[in-house]
């Protein structure tokens, strides 16, 4: 029987516009942001909605990203559904406040149009910005295209605001490749989004008098938020955040599955998206838009008889270690692609996590790391073919000579 999904409309949107449109439909209360390439279109588009009275949102165009994130935390603490967007230097300027946001348990949603960090100055896409924030306590979900951007922003509010999670979420979309590329995007009706996202849930907390009150700044129920915690309590706060991250692994999947039933669109199990991986002998792991190219190459290689596969890591924080292990343990040789660099580290951020997840697997694949696409360097099918051909040799020799490699680089 053919499944029936809600009626949808086809729109031509780039990734940034898809974000703005989703935020509009999610009936966000406050957007506090500072423009930065390649995120700018999001705030520009949203400003149009505000200027034309299409949303009730208070849009606060702050004087810096640091203040934007502070205003977001305060707004979220006051009970408002809150959104912001940033990239690169802007995200780096927020660094201090990112930890405050997660520690304060403010469920802010932020779109990061992933871009390289200075110096040298570069406005093009790579994932150095949000990968550098991987320990800031934010959930991180990376998307492949404009459609997934739209779908994921809607899911992000549900995930963030869920009481057992109550953590901020970054949705990472590759700068320019996703943010600026016009695509066909199926969008839900406003009502369908309203039903799916719902109103913001405020968890109840206990006062010292034992009264249950909503967790927000409320003159009727005064609450001290953002206190100082000394060594006798600080540690427990941090442990609770880790528990919330663990809960997020389940919630991300639940919300994704519910959305898939509604829209007909799903992305693997929400944490990982395996592609032709079941019988794969060689596989590539990547994050974000590169997986689109990788899928094409996998198809071509499959046509040639090569047992190639792909694992797209969709959720990077919390890291789905068990899923990654299960998906890769029977592969002979795996290449993990990192669109960021951890200087002096023994591989990129994604590589370290993936390799670590495989340590306890029954059979460990041979694993190598490729740094690619820094500063917007184009990574095309030929680059992936090179990686797969290396993997073929590694699998054949049962030995990887070089752990960390570069693809698409002059050396």
């Amino acid at each position: 029987m053919k499944k029936v999904y809600v009626k949808q409309e086809l729109m031509a949107l780039n990734g940034d516009e898809a974000v703005a449109f989703a935020v509009k439909q999610a009936d966000v209360d406050v957007v506090a942001a500072y423009p930065i390439t390649p995120q700018t279109i999001i705030v520009e588009k949203y400003s149009e909605y505000v200027a034309n009275g299409e949303v009730q949102t208070e849009f606060v165009c702050t004087e810096s990203e640091h203040s934007a994130m502070a205003a977001c935390i305060a707004s979220s603490a006051t009970g408002a559904r809150t959104f912001t967007a940033s990239a690169s230097a802007g995200l780096a300027l927020m660094h201090e406040m990112l930890f405050v946001a997660s520690g304060s348990r403010t469920p802010i949603v932020m779109a990061v149009a992933n871009r390289a960090l200075s110096s040298p100055l570069n406005i093009n896409g790579d994932q150095s910005d949000s990968m550098a924030e991987r320990d800031s306590g934010w959930i991180q979900i990376y998307v492949e295209n404009a459609q997934e951007t739209y779908d994921t922003i809607l899911q992000a509010f549900r995930i963030a605001e869920q009481c057992e999670v109550l953590l901020p979420v970054i949705v990472g979309l590759d700068g320019f490749i996703v943010s600026h590329t016009l695509e066909n995007v199926d969008v839900l009706s406003d009502d369908a989004v309203k039903n799916f996202v719902g109103e913001r849930i405020l968890p109840d907390v206990l006062t010292h008098e034992g009264k249950k009150v909503p967790f927000k700044l409320d003159p009727d129920n005064p609450m001290t938020m953002g206190p100082i915690a000394l060594p006798n309590y600080y540690f427990e706060f941090k442990r609770q955040q880790e528990e919330a991250m663990k809960n997020a692994l389940t919630v991300i999947q639940q919300v994704h599955d519910e959305y898939a039933k509604l829209s007909g669109r799903g992305y693997g199990n929400a944490l990982i998206e395996p592609y032709k991986l079941d019988d794969a002998e060689v596989a590539v792991v990547c994050v974000g838009s590169a997986s689109g190219t990788a899928k094409t190459v996998v198809d071509e290689l499959r046509a040639e008889g090569v047992k190639a596969g792909l694992l797209r890591l969709r959720t990077f924080r919390p890291f789905p270690a068990a899923d990654v292990q299960k998906a890769l343990e029977n592969v002979k040789a795996v290449a993990v692609l990192d669109k960021s660099i951890s200087f002096g580290g023994n591989g990129g951020a994604v590589f370290l996590e993936v390799r670590h997840a495989l340590y306890d697997a029954k059979s460990r694949p041979l694993m190598v790391n490729y740094i690619y696409g820094l500063g917007g360097r184009d990574t095309g099918p030929k680059d992936f073919k090179k990686v797969f051909s290396d993997l073929h040799i590694i699998a054949h020799n049962k030995r990887a000579d070089k752990l960390v490699n570069y693809v698409g680089l002059r050396e």
Partner: protein, 323 residues
């Protein structure tokens, strides 16, 4: 506005009004800022949300699981008091429109020390004021980074010894004058800017209330001695806030829609200049200035006197021009 209480601010009124900044906080004996905070909260007029920059007053009042705050209170970081106020203001506006905030009006007060105002928090403050958020920013100025152990700030006066401007054999404490923060805020063309000291408590409370009644941003600069940082007697803290006014080191005045007006304590000095106290009377007894009372550093005291007179003169001119 329904939330506006009549402001009498007699000693009896404020004694009867319940505290919103409660005892049990960890401030030092003789702490100027703690006195200021307690009194400021006596001038609130209804539902109020307080947000605070990192600093002494944040640390002493919110040690988990305790709190001194009987009103909703938020701290995020050192440089963010005004940005927090922006976020609270935006949230309240939209939630009110959507019927999710019941109160007819909620006042927002942002507290920050001189570090969180003159220096690290200045950009956020300037931005929030430019955007016109409805909040009262209160600077409690103890003229240094006291929370981190008495380092210099943009609000530290010339000659003061701090741990980053120690009185050495070649440097007599801080070499630069205090930043004219109030004038800088006036330059933002906001509706209400004022200075106050806790010695003239009634004047201070009235200014808090005026600041709250402004629809939009208001700025109040309150002088608040720190006996630890100033190396002064804890029992003298409030007296220094009188001497600072009488010596014109810290004149009290209001700038309403750009028009300067001296408040009574400073007006009395302007009317009877012979009563203006020499700066030495204010400096003496403060350990941070002790090294100035030596022959080789006399020039610093002379410069402080000249500078104080110059700023006082400029202020009086602005008052005259406003009349």
């Amino acid at each position: 506005m329904a939330t506006t209480q009549e402001w009498k601010f007699t000693a009896k009124d404020i004694a009867l009004k319940p505290d919103a900044f409660l005892p049990g906080h960890r401030a030092c004996a003789g702490c100027g800022p703690a006195n200021v905070l307690r009194m400021v909260m006596k001038a609130t007029r209804g539902p109020t949300i307080v947000t605070q920059a990192t600093g002494c007053m944040e640390v002493v009042s919110s040690i988990y699981p305790y709190t001194s705050w009987a009103v909703p209170w938020l701290h995020t970081a050192f440089e963010t008091a005004a940005a927090n106020a922006s976020g609270i203001d935006a949230a309240l506006k939209v939630l009110k429109r959507k019927g999710k905030v019941k109160q007819e009006h909620v006042d927002i007060i942002a507290f920050a020390g001189d570090g969180g105002t003159f220096d690290i928090g200045f950009q956020a403050l300037s931005g929030a004021v430019e955007r016109g958020h409805d909040f009262l920013f209160i600077l409690y100025d103890n003229e240094g980074y006291m929370n981190t152990g008495i380092q210099r700030s943009g609000g530290t006066p010339m000659g003061a010894a701090t741990t980053t401007t120690p009185a050495g054999s070649v440097m007599p404490g801080k070499l630069q004058h205090k930043k004219p923060i109030t004038d800088i805020m006036v330059a933002h063309e906001m509706e209400y800017v004022a200075t106050a000291t806790p010695y003239y408590w009634k004047d201070m409370l009235q200014k808090v209330r005026k600041g709250l009644e402004v629809e939009g941003p208001a700025f109040l600069h309150i002088f608040a001695p720190c006996p630890r940082g100033w190396r002064s007697e804890p029992s003298n803290s409030i007296d220094y806030t009188k001497l600072a006014v009488e010596s014109c080191v810290f004149p009290v005045y209001e700038v309403v829609k750009g028009k300067y007006e001296l408040s009574t304590p400073s007006k009395l000095v302007a009317l009877a200049p012979q009563k203006k106290r020499p700066i030495t009377e204010y400096l003496k007894g403060q350990g941070r200035y002790r090294h100035l009372f030596t022959p080789q550093n006399k020039h610093v005291i002379d410069e402080l006197q000249r500078f104080t007179d110059e700023r006082w003169g400029k202020l009086q001119k602005k008052v005259e021009q406003s009349a």
